[in-house]
Symmetry: C2
Subunit: 390 residues, 2 copies
């Protein structure tokens, strides 16, 4: 009997054995020639994964929130106006972070939980004020709502705002083309679709973001996040030179380089397609089981994550049953409806087998919770999508 | 032929197989019951390792510099006066960090590199201004100078300053008794004498520091470092409850808990004594080889680290020879004399065998660099100390 449960939460996700092996290597010096090579390579690969050939990557020990903090602290000066396109919990957080560094924040909020602000409302807001910066949460981990990053970025650019994308639950899973779409800064954390254990904040800043940083009149409000400290370090490692500001998280960076290599071996287009297909299979199962998703319409559903309301008569005790059936899924996160839904992450190295395993465990959990449905309905719906010729 | 070199730099240091195994475990959810237990235990153990039974521990993804940033951002309000006892590079850094959050910083600098500011000069400075906070670098990793933390903390307290100790190259190696010595906040990073790969900022704040934080009139300048975000999380994990602010670096925290357990199994008194004995053995070898240390007197020499001037006719190429002889040591770090010295870390799980191996490799390197000495002189001097009855 295998004891280990499948981890299908929105991060940490499942990691490959090669990544785990890199985590468990004896730690090298942060200025050892082989580590310098690995760090340099990881920076180069990050540019490819973000599809941002001219970007400046930053890899810094911290969580995804640090990555948001890095974006805000380096790009905002006191009094700057910032627009937050809010699709949930992490939009609220970005607003709080921007305000911390002195921004005057305007939020365009989704009309309801599960919805996203309409593009024309965002455009109206951009028209009415001159915003230095605009933030978009690509996938809000609290609601599984996906924003129309391509459309929003185009509008933001048209009105001269720096476009910042919180891609924490998205990068390397959701389709994102940083340079082509005009995104000035994109960020994520290691434990999501990047497939590395938690502990790394990852940021790629485009030329306009770096220029805005260089033109600052005031010091960056946050010392640890300050690009003045980190830029020379990233440049040095990429030039395969030793350098020091803070000791980099050596094992995590070895693991990052392994994972980025695996991501690029698959190829970004194939990876986007796999995520779309597996998400469609999982969501087909959810629908076939008569369950309702949090996002109000299909175009707003994330491909990395599904948020599902508990059906009538079922509550979070079902999560324990699903776990006993072998799969760990996550509870709700959005404060307003936390107890009413659960979340399933399906990003990174996720496979068709993982989808079937997860649907199977959810069916078993629901049955045990007394929910009425024909066992196998979800599996059959998922399988129908998985058997489509691609 | 074993390929792996012994890592004798001032961090990352050598780690135990158990710690490395924890790093390479399949990652659990950050709210899994077993991880909650591990995180809670690690927080309790941190209090014991810092000898601060009433302290509030914080474990946050980041480097040692983040730990310094956390101390400054949470304790300083704009206009506060801060005194930095400067013994090298990391004193300069603390001053820069404190200024970032609006402190008016006064520095008492060592009269020369390798020296520490005299206690009476620090007292005179404290007398002349009303300082909210005073920082001490326990061991400056750039110079291997150890400050008299006990004496300085007593003086700082007498004048009402919060005493903050940068223990990055010290905690769990150098003797430090946070509560008994009246230290209000002590901090370190995982990759030093705590013996966990880099990626964790570790802070223990005493009651006076927490009180100063609670009495703030202005928001904390740094969002990611803000205790308002982290305090509820640390309290929740210690109460064995799930909670979320940012995803904790799961593998590093598993490894931390393993290492803290090993540290406490040895016992803090035994650990301090071992560090003293091995440092004395290594420094006896250095002296017997006719090499000069950076610290100007024995009472200012760190026990976790030794900084050694290259003898006449020898430069940093000797570090390559030492490496080929099997041991990695570090170059200089203090900007003013960077090319004139090297550094050997001997902290954490360091053993008598490591000391002999290191002295042996240094002798071989020096011989190859053309330095004149009787081979074995260093080894014999170290061995004399190691054979003393303890």
């Amino acid at each position: 009997m295998k004891d280990r449960k499948l981890l299908m939460i929105p991060g940490p996700v499942e990691f490959t054995p090669e990544v785990i092996r890199a985590m468990g290597m004896f730690t090298t010096s942060h200025v050892a020639p082989d580590f310098i090579e690995v760090f340099g390579q990881a920076l180069e690969r990050l540019r490819e994964v973000f599809l941002c050939p001219q970007g400046q990557p930053f890899v810094i020990a911290g969580s995804g929130t640090l990555a948001m903090d890095i974006a805000a602290a380096n790009l905002i000066e006191p009094g700057d106006k910032a627009l937050v396109v809010n699709t949930g919990y992490f939009g609220d957080r970005f607003a709080a972070i921007l305000e911390r560094y002195g921004a005057e924040v305007t939020q365009v909020k989704a009309p309801a939980i599960g919805d996203a602000p309409p593009l024309d409302e965002v455009e109206a807001a951009l028209q009415s004020g001159s915003y230095k910066l605009m933030t978009i949460t690509h996938v809000d981990t609290s609601t599984a709502v996906k924003a129309d990053v391509k459309g929003l970025a185009a509008v933001g650019r048209r009105y001269g705002a720096l476009v910042v994308v919180d891609g924490v639950c998205a990068v390397a899973g959701e389709e994102m083309r940083q340079e082509e779409w005009g995104i000035d800064l994109a960020l994520t954390a290691s434990q999501k679709a990047i497939c590395v254990p938690p502990g790394l904040a990852l940021v790629v800043a485009g030329p306009r973001a770096m220029e805005a940083f260089r033109k600052r009149q005031t010091p960056v409000g946050n010392y640890y996040a300050d690009w003045n400290n980190w830029l020379p370090i990233m440049e040095a490692y990429e030039a395969r030179q030793p350098s020091y500001f803070g000791t980099p998280p050596v094992n995590l960076i070895w693991a990052l380089n392994v994972s980025l290599g695996q991501i690029l071996d698959e190829g970004m287009e194939a990876r986007f397609a796999r995520h779309r297909r597996l998400s469609r299979a999982f969501k087909a199962a959810v629908a076939a089981l008569g369950l309702k998703q949090l996002p109000l319409s299909a175009d707003k559903e994330a491909t990395t994550l599904t948020a599902i309301y508990y059906p009538a008569g079922v509550d979070r005790t079902v999560l324990g049953y699903i776990k006993e059936a072998g799969v760990i899924v996550a509870g709700g996160l959005h404060p307003a409806i936390k107890a009413q839904y659960f979340r399933v992450g399906h990003m990174g190295v996720v496979s068709a087998a993982d989808i079937l395993t997860t649907v199977g465990a959810i069916e078993q959990g629901l049955a045990r919770a007394g929910y009425q449905f024909e066992p196998g309905t979800g599996l059959a719906a998922a399988q129908a999508v998985l058997c489509e010729s691609s």
